[in-house]
Structures are given as C-alpha cells and as structure tokens.
Symmetry: D2
Amino acid sequence: MPEEKFTPPAGAFTRSVTNRFSHCDPAGIVYFPHYFDMFNGLIEDWYTQELRHDYAQLIMGGRFGFPFVHIECDFKIPSRIGEVIELTLLVERIGRSSLGIAIVCHRDGVIRLRARMVTAMMSLETKKPVALPQGLREAMEAYQRRTAAA
Amino acid sequence: MPEEKFTPPAGAFTRSVTNRFSHCDPAGIVYFPHYFDMFNGLIEDWYTQELRHDYAQLIMGGRFGFPFVHIECDFKIPSRIGEVIELTLLVERIGRSSLGIAIVCHRDGVIRLRARMVTAMMSLETKKPVALPQGLREAMEAYQRRTAAA
Amino acid sequence: MPEEKFTPPAGAFTRSVTNRFSHCDPAGIVYFPHYFDMFNGLIEDWYTQELRHDYAQLIMGGRFGFPFVHIECDFKIPSRIGEVIELTLLVERIGRSSLGIAIVCHRDGVIRLRARMVTAMMSLETKKPVALPQGLREAMEAYQRRTAAA
Amino acid sequence: MPEEKFTPPAGAFTRSVTNRFSHCDPAGIVYFPHYFDMFNGLIEDWYTQELRHDYAQLIMGGRFGFPFVHIECDFKIPSRIGEVIELTLLVERIGRSSLGIAIVCHRDGVIRLRARMVTAMMSLETKKPVALPQGLREAMEAYQRRTAAA
C-alpha cells in the first residue's frame, strides 16, 4: 500500500501525542482502542481551546453528552512506543444536533490512520438529542470555513 | 430511530460481558473505546474456544499479529453499568491474509451496536502480511458456513 | 525470592480472570494498572453476588461511591497473555464507613501478587463519608467470620 | 482530614496532566487505576527528558523492563474532569537493580494523592534482574542529590 501524504489545512487544530508504553501491546505497537481514546481527548481540547466552549463544563455543568453514533477508521501504518504522532481534526458536516468530523493521524507528513466520526449532542437528563446551542454551532461553522481546503 | 431486532444464527459464537463501573463515563454509559476492547477479547476467545487455535500461542509462540486495517461501527443504544450485554461474532469474508468479521452487540434481542472489522494476519518478525495457515483458514470457513443465515 | 503458597479459606470469594492481549505490555506481561481494574471488578462482583447488594444499584440508584483511600500491593510473579489467574477477596477490617480488604492473586496455589486496599463509602451528593448501611455491614461481617482462617 | 501542603523541591521533575473525560467514572471523579497509568507516563518522561536515557529505547532496543515490585498510595482528595493536576517525581532509594521513588500529585500547593513505588530493572531476555547501568545510576543519583529537600 503506497504512502498517503497529508498536510493539515492552515489553521487546523492539531495536537501531538507521545505513544506511551501503556498504549502498546505485546506486538510493540499501539493497541487500537487507545487511538479512539486519543481522538476523544483531541475533541475535548478542540471544544475547550479552539471553539472556546469548555468541554468539562458542558458535561458536568450543562449536563450534556456527546455520544458517537458512527465511527469508521482506516489503519494504514502502525505506531510504536516513543513515537510522537500528530492528530488533526477537521469538520465534515454540522447537523441540527449532530457533528461529523474527520481525524487524521499523521507523522512526517504521512498518514498513519484516518477516522470519520459522527457525534450527537444529547441531554444527560432527558437522554434525548438536543440542538447544538447557537454559539457552539457558530464556532463550529467558523472553524469549518477557515480550515476548508482551498 | 426504531429498534433493530437480532437473533444470532444457530451455532454463532456469543459471549456475555458485564458492563463494569470502569467501563462507564461521567455520563453513566459505557465509554465507547471499551467496546473495541471487548471486541478484541471476543475475537481472542473465538480463536481459542471456537476455532481451536490458541490466540496467545499464535501471538507469543507463532509471533503473529492480527492488526485491524478497517473498522466501522454504528452505535444505536447506550449501555449502562451493571447491564449484561451479548456479543456475537460472524464471518463476512476470508481473504488470503485478511479476515472480515461482523460483531453484533445485543441485549434482549435488540441491537445495541454493530461493527464490521477487517484484520490482516502478519508476521511480527518481518512486519509483512502472511497467508492464513491452512488449518486456521479451514476452521474459519467451516464456522462461516455453519453460521450463515439460511 | 521463594514462592509463596496460598490456599483460599473455605467459602472465600474467588473469581478467575483470563489475561487478555490488551492487558499486556510490550514486555509481554500484564501492565500493572490493569490489576487494579481487575480488583475493582472483583469487588463489584463480591458486592453483587456474595453480599447480595447490587453494586450498580448502590452507585446509580443509591448515589453512593466507594473511593479508595489507601492501596498497597506487592508484585511477586508477572502474568502473561492467555494465563488464567485467580483473585480471592478477604475482609481485614470493617469500620464505620471504611472497609479494609485483601486481594490475593494466585495461580496453581502460588501467589502472583497481593494487595491491601481501604475504601470508604461516601455519598455522591454530599461528597461526605456515610456509615455503612446495617444490612451491608452485617453481610460484610458474616463474610469475614466465615472466611477467617481457623 | 486536614489539607496537606506541598511545594516541590527546586529542580524536581513535575508534569501537568489534564483529567480527561475518559479518566472519570460514573461518580465524576478520576477512576483510580488511571493514576497509576499517569505515574508510568511520568516515569517514562523522567527517564527520557530528565535522566537523558530514552525510555522507549531502553525497552525496545535494550530489551529491559522496569516492573514494579511494590506500590503504596494514599488518596486524599479526588480529582474531577477538566482539572489540571501536577505530578512530581522524587527519588527515595537507589539499589543495585531497584529504584524507590515517590510521586506526589498536587494542585494549588495541596496534595491530592501520594505514592511510593519500587521498581526493579530486569532483562526481558533472561527475565532476571540486572544491575542499573552506570550512566543511568549516576543520572539517578545526581537527580536525587539536587532535589533533596534542604
């Protein structure tokens, strides 16, 4: 399988993760569920640092949840202990209560894995979907516009 | 979203998992990466108990790995602490070194989530894909035949 | 270090755990934080199955928590993927809201690791310790008596 | 229980950790095994960044392991989602192949939890303890001296 190159769009939200001993399995590579945990951490930071909506406050204060309804992921190159990988978040689609994102994991400009994930905002009280609050939606839309590939 | 019913085919490999305190997040539901860990445990048991090829021995003795190359998952109903859920494994496609499976997570005949996963057998020494050994392939094919829906 | 033998007292609560691929680290042995997760699972099952107080119900219904205040653990023999280990829970001390337990992890009558853990029952609403309810305390005391070494 | 104050000695190795959604349990506080995982991450960074011995290289290249032989931990104040906590590593005792460390988790100068952990360097090939290499030992001793409280 040929390498697939990746350069994040200007302004895209990217964070580094060091692959820990505890991420790795007896084969010496990252055990795949840990990637999904890294993705959730990236999303938390994106809400808090990029969208300026504190994720912890949305959960514990607002009593909202963001469960995933769909995930798909292609794993291209395994990652090893000690390697630093980059995770970039891109917005694909903003619905009434749903959000479709792509997360690209890369290193040295080459894709390691790529995921598409759809989440739905819900109330932890009613257990029902809720519409994305206006301020949050606008922050998502602005992010999507400014990171759209030319 | 309407409920989706599920009855495992006769002879399908199904195991129960109790949702632990540690599986659950501050929203009180199973944190999604734990499902992927449960899936891996199910696959381990399927190799060892159903296909009669000891998974630990394949990894540590045979120096083989079974990394995932593709995963997709639809989450339909969240699961809560203390609930016992059922996981059923079905074979979709057997390639030269790859294996496509479906895992259905259900309770009381209703689907909670459903995943499709493709794994590739590889050598931990050469880091290259290897053809599924004949005995393992035959066990997979026999399982696929006897669990194919009528 | 010489082996240390262990035979659980008659009636002691013991559960088996299969060491999973995902429990193991690049050194091929169980990554130690997973033991603590296994211990918590054992305690959950002990409440529900042995003391007949449903753990999930205590947490989600009763809004109680059982945080640890002290843990100590001696690791004697590492465990490997595919091995089945036994976990035995013994009661050391029952306080007003606190509970001191020992957990012995063993295989073939030889100790793998041994932990002592102190937990305190608290209210998730007030964040304060609460006295162990009478029925729960009596179940703990009865268990302690019937599993005390002669 | 009164608060216990803590100021790291000058030059002590301290790293921040953000408590993630995935660290927290249905009670909304960090699930305790995650602290041990954080501790291991701190130790990895300490080897690599402070002692200048690359941890990943020691494991995968040198085929060494650093299993724990003893752990004790006192949990004083729970931590919540979104909180940033500080972890400080101090050296207590350097043996032939063993290392005794203390890890203090604190926030705003107040101790959250405190652990003492003893690890032993071993060969992954022979499964036997090995003497700490001279360069590594000297780096540990120098760190211990420069961070000893006056």
